[in-house]
Amino acid sequence: MDFWLKVVLAVVLGMMLWRLWPAARHQLDHGPKGTSKDWQAAILPIGAVVLFIVFLVMMVRN
């Protein structure tokens, strides 16, 4: 990739970081905190996504 294209992309990503930072800070300071039961309910479907992706990778490798 051209160097200047990389610089433009880096600037855009940096702007995204800059825009996202206040929201992240607000969520960390004032967002609701989950219990271990809440996290289990979230990890279950995300774990299923991970297994599904492993399955897809195996499928395209064969």
């Binding site: 990503l13 970081l17 960390l28 897809l56």
Partner: protein
């Protein structure tokens, strides 16, 4: 007997308005996805360069940041959503052409497309049927996005293939979390604007597809 009960009435109104937001979001989302696919096909047939693809993505980003907030409460917002999905869809053209040129390209693209659909429907179905509140994931997801953006900036200059794969894997996990988070926000009244909800879910699906295609392309064994 016909005593007015504001709690019940408000509760029913709230449920009706939540259902309306969910219904409108999924209708608009399905239309934008179809439109995006059509624009991607046009982008492929036009053999666009990767530079023009990047310009379209930047244009879509500009619309999301600068134009959408002004129109999100009016019907003009729907036009903006279609413009965003059209630009992002057309911008996919060069990347899809690159993968389609690989020996197992059609299989890769088809698998990534189907996989994205299954993941989105599965996670949305999970959030809609369990009706769990995933708002507690907000902090984790936002910090995760910051870390991923930081890693993407670093990898633009270091170009480490393993880091690129790790970023794609991280994006898939974060977008999966965001689908749960956004769907749960619609269910529990945290998001009452279907235009904003549609753009959020569309971007999650879009990023999920790109990252899944990248991982499948890298690990398919076809160099």
């Amino acid at each position: 007997m016909s005593e007015f009960n504001p709690t019940v009435a408000r509760g029913r109104d709230s449920v009706l308005s939540t259902n309306k937001v969910i219904r409108n979001t999924y209708i608009l989302l399905s239309m934008t996805l179809v439109f995006s696919a059509v624009m991607a096909a046009i982008g492929m047939s036009m053999n666009l360069s990767s530079g023009s693809s990047m310009m379209m993505s930047l244009g879509a980003l500009g619309l999301i940041w600068l134009v959408l907030p002004r129109f999100e409460n009016s019907t003009g917002g729907i036009v903006v959503v279609f413009a965003i999905s059209g630009l992002l869809g057309m911008g996919l053209g060069p990347m899809l052409n690159y993968y389609m040129a690989m020996a197992n390209g059609p299989q890769l693209v088809g698998t990534a497309l189907g996989g994205t659909g299954v993941i989105f429907l599965g996670l949305s179905g999970y959030a809609l049927t369990t009706r769990k509140d995933f708002s507690f994931m907000g902090g984790f997801l936002f910090v995760g996005l910051l870390v991923v953006f930081g890693a993407m900036i670093a990898n633009l200059f270091f170009a480490i293939p393993a880091l690129a794969l790790a970023v794609s894997a991280g994006i898939i996990l974060l977008m999966s979390g965001l689908i749960l988070y956004d769907t749960s926000r619609m269910i529990h009244g945290g998001e009452t604007n279907y235009i904003r909800a549609t753009v959020g879910l569309y971007l999650s699906i879009y990023n999920l597809f790109i990252s899944l295609l990248h991982i499948l392309g890298a690990l398919s064994g076809d160099d």
